[in-house]
């Protein structure tokens, strides 16, 4: 169906071409397992991604963090994804104890956590450090000015050993210091639970956001 393309030399139509492009695009995406699916990767695709040089976060790391959040009494997590917290996001999508609120932009998440705290929830915002920079106004004029406790779970892109986003990595800790937000870089798997419970207690007692920077070592 459709109008044949005169210059093609073949009895091809525009819709043939479109279909061919869509089929090859879908095949390409399927190969990379990134589009057309909920953000959940099979073990096999993870292995393939690892072979391609993408370091994948482990399920164990994500499970430890989720257990830490529950131990700390966190019952609502807003999130914007990053490939390094993919496993954790997958767990949150399927978890029944923690209300998971995906948002489009990180500053929205600061608002959602604030509103949820006012209504009695214990909250965390999961994001990449680029998103932390995105949410600075919400953090200052809402979370800090009203004194709202929340855990900021921030993937530390541009950390030592991380190839991409070195500028974001460079800005992250000075920005947290400038905002007056207490933070810790999580590096030790064996201390994940303590770090999270400690940070949640610090947030609760100071009634301020407290940040945990998630390094690859713990993910």
């Amino acid at each position: 169906m459709g109008t044949p393309i005169p210059w093609s030399g073949y009895p091809l139509t525009v819709s043939d071409l479109t279909r061919a492009i869509i089929i090859s695009y879908k095949a390409l995406c399927k190969q990379n397992s990134l589009v057309f699916e909920r953000p959940r990767l099979s073990t096999e695709s993870q292995r393939q991604l690892s072979l391609k040089g993408v370091d994948m976060a482990t399920k164990e790391g994500a499970q430890q963090i989720l257990a830490g959040l529950k131990e700390a009494g966190i019952n609502l997590v807003a999130s914007v994804p990053d490939i390094n917290v993919l496993q954790l996001i997958n767990l949150l999508y399927n978890d029944r104890e923690i209300t998971h609120i995906p948002v489009g932009r990180e500053e929205e998440g600061i608002g959602v956590c604030t509103g949820a705290y006012l209504g009695g929830k214990r909250t965390a915002m999961l994001m990449q450090n680029g998103g932390l920079l995105n949410s600075c106004n919400g953090l200052t004029t809402t979370a800090l000015q009203f004194g709202i406790p929340m855990l900021l779970l921030v993937y530390y892109a541009g950390d030592m050993g991380d190839k991409a986003f070195h500028m974001v990595g460079l800005a992250t800790e000075p920005v947290l210091q400038g905002l007056g937000i207490k933070y810790r870089v999580m590096r030790d798997r064996s201390k994940v639970k303590q770090d999270i419970v400690g940070a949640a207690t610090a947030a609760e007692s100071s009634k301020r956001p407290v940040a945990l920077l998630l390094s690859r070592e713990v993910l």
Binding site: G104, G115, G120, T141, F146
Partner: protein
Amino acid sequence: MKRLECLQVISSLIKDELFVTTAGGATAEWNAVRPSDGNIQVKTLGLCSSIGLGLAIALPGRKIFVFDGDGALWMNLGSLATIGLHQPKNLIHICWDNKQYESSGGEPTVSTAGNIDFAGVARNAGIKSSRGAATVEELREAVSDALSHDGPHFIWARIEAGRAEAPPPRYDELENKYRFIRYIEETEGINIFSMPMPASYLLKKS
């Protein structure tokens, strides 16, 4: 229609609903019309819709009003999509559109040119109960309807520019927060401030 007339109508329709109000003129007028500890006054332009969403999710049994403005909503237009995604039944989001940044001196907003249909944007973002109101009667009908049906609801209230005389806010943000949470604790029968510190859970178990 004037915003003040609309606010008086809303105050005659409600009981103990919670109000999240934008960094703008609607806040001072609302606090003059209905002074209550159930009002929280947002300081971040655009964030009232996100805060309202979080509150609505945390307290699903309580009706939550959000008073937004056209400039504020433009700044966080994505929040309509997020509300459309999560579908909080108890959220009533009203955008007071006076076609200007009134608190900043009257500069034009996205709405000034008249191209945008905020109700259409909201509806297509997944907020099915979305409508416009250009007269006080239309607004009364829209709010009564929103109060008696499941939402989320969005009302695009097109108002005249101009701010009614209203006293400045009586509280700073900290006092506003404490009063608001105490009000929720009392009316919902829950404890928010006196929850045990997370570290005490660990101590108990070890």
